[in-house]
């Protein structure tokens, strides 16, 4: 009796949590090999070799990877630094509420706002004009839709740095880093040693799964690069959707090739991250 209910609930889990993912993956896989799809007629590896030889995927992947890596590094580094320097001040009621505010801003708004500030006719360009640094909008440097993805990285950092700061403050408290630091000092450690041997190892060790998780989220981010990205290369999600939404029917299949590759990569990442019975110490 008890077992039957349990089995029923597990099959519900499979129905909601597993089948859609499996269905989506199989659909994309079949499409990428030409087995299904409006203009496709039977199995072919043409789309795969087309994507493979054009290099679009690898360019896009490398581009997304670099952007995500830079953004995560800056965010985690900044948040660690702020935790180290401003922990006590950030416990004040007003400041702790202020810290939560950025969590209320979605990617699409961040992208929009960054565009408003840094575009050629944006807020900073106007300040530049008023100060006499530039005489017309085109002289303002490319900071959005630019080669170096300045706008995208800036948006990502403003979105996730506050989150990591809150996370680190939380871990700092829960893991009793304060007490351990005092203990280390009593054992003769200086401030630098306390940071290097107590503060950083504990905080990183307790949160690295979440850091990797956010890296993967950034890898697949959509709204921000959609607003602030350039023509080419594009971040993965933007590229995939652009290809799938094409009128050129061959390109749709190629879009699914990229979707399959992307899904495989994040799935392998998920397996590596979560299979060896490691749970994130802090639920996000």
């Amino acid at each position: 009796m008890k077992n039957r209910t349990n089995n029923f609930i597990i099959s519900l889990f499979i129905a909601i949590g597993v089948i859609p993912f499996a269905a989506a993956f199989v659909y994309a896989l079949l499409y990428s090999f030409g087995i299904i799809g409006i203009a496709n007629d039977g199995f072919t590896t043409a789309f795969w070799s087309a994507v493979w030889s054009s290099g679009t995927f690898f360019q896009s992947f490398l581009y997304s990877f670099s952007i995500a890596l830079v953004s995560i590094t800056l965010s985690v580094g900044g948040a660690l630094w702020a935790t180290l320097k401003f922990r006590k001040q950030l416990e004040q009621k007003f400041l702790s509420f202020i810290l939560y505010l950025p969590l209320a801003v979605p990617g699409i708004v961040t992208g929009f706002f960054t565009f408003q500030l840094f575009s050629k006719s944006g807020f900073f360009s106007r300040i530049g004009y008023q100060m006499g640094w530039i005489s017309q909008p085109s002289q303002f440097p490319d900071l959005v839709n630019d080669v170096f993805a300045f706008g995208i990285v800036l948006s990502f950092v403003t979105m996730i740095m506050p989150f990591f700061l809150l996370l680190f403050l939380n871990v700092y408290k829960n893991e009793r880093v304060e007490e351990l630091s005092v203990l280390a000092q009593a054992l003769g450690a200086n401030a630098k040693q306390v940071t290097q041997r107590i503060f950083l190892p504990i905080l990183i060790k307790k949160t690295w799964v979440i850091i990797v998780l956010y890296f993967i989220f950034l890898l697949g981010a959509y709204e921000v690069p959609l607003i602030l990205g350039q023509e080419s290369p594009q971040m993965l999600s933007v590229l995939i959707i652009q290809e799938i939404k094409q009128y050129d029917l061959d390109r749709i299949s190629e879009g699914y090739v990229i979707a399959v590759m992307y899904t495989l990569i994040v799935s392998v990442a998920a397996i590596l991250l979560f299979l060896p019975r490691r749970k994130p110490a802090y639920e996000t």
Binding site: I9, V18, L101, A104, V105, Q116, A259, A270
Partner: protein
């Protein structure tokens, strides 16, 4: 005397955090704000008063966003909680957890693109129900994984205790498990609400522009280069979460104290 630099950095950080909110409000109040003016030539409630008229459709968007997000948050929190119990007490819980991480980790917009065929076949394309179901599919793994740490040995002991005291399953949930998980349920509700409220890519694909949530509106206005209405929609998008955040955070702190 050494002058501390910390207060300056902190004040600057506070200003930087508050600046976007102020700027967006200002932009939503503005019109005719051309380069190189630092301030708009018009500041007033003109745009906001338009919300009340149906011309922009923002009020409808707000209502449908609210309907979608509340449905997604309630359904995914409750089902996530109930189903996570069976999953995390299961002997194969590691494998099941891993399966839940796949949809969790995949970009929703790519997920939606690969699922859209099935939604089309089931008549769930371009309607509110379809968007709710699609968002539920991505919010559910989050909710499920969220409760993983709740189902520990101690909670199992509580369940056993209630059983030996004569309580049935229903009573166990109502009288013990829900009260014990109250704080977590609230946070999960809040988070899944936000996942839905902020969702753009998946909604745009499954809703095909017919289901116009606020994020869809923001993007439409950006495309039209109508930044004033864009900012206005941003304000509508941001302020409900801030209100929720205020209450949610206060609640969490009270529990911790």
């Amino acid at each position: 005397m050494k002058l501390s630099w910390k207060p300056f950095v902190l004040s600057l950080a506070v200003l930087l955090i508050l600046f976007p909110f102020a700027y967006l409000v200002l932009l939503s109040l503005a019109s005719d704000w051309r380069f190189p003016d630092l301030f708009p030539s018009y500041i007033g409630l003109k745009n906001w008063s338009k919300i009340l008229s149906s011309e922009t459709g923002l009020l409808t968007s707000f209502a449908s966003s609210l309907l979608i997000s509340l449905s997604v948050a309630i359904v995914s929190t409750v089902s996530g909680f109930l189903i996570s119990r069976a999953v995390f007490y299961h002997p194969k819980k590691n494998t099941l957890t891993l399966l839940a991480y796949f949809p969790y980790i995949l970009a929703p917009v790519v997920f939606a693109a690969c699922l859209s065929f099935f939604f089309l076949k089931m008549g769930l394309f371009g309607n509110v129900m379809g968007v709710i179901i699609a968002q539920f599919i991505i919010a559910f793994p989050y909710a499920l994984l969220f409760f993983s740490s709740f189902w520990n040995k101690k909670v199992k002991s509580y369940e056993d205790l209630v059983a030996t005291l004569g309580g049935n399953r229903w009573q166990t949930y109502i009288k013990v498990l829900f009260p014990l998980a109250k704080g977590l349920l609230l946070i999960c509700f809040f988070q899944t609400f936000l996942i839905s409220w902020f969702e753009y890519g998946l909604t745009s694909i499954i809703g095909i522009g017919k289901v116009q949530t606020l994020t869809i509106k923001v993007f439409l206005f950006i495309k039209e280069a109508n930044y004033y209405y864009g900012a206005l929609s941003c304000c509508l998008l941001i302020f409900p979460p801030i209100v929720l955040l205020y209450f949610n955070k206060r609640y969490v702190f009270k529990k911790l104290a």
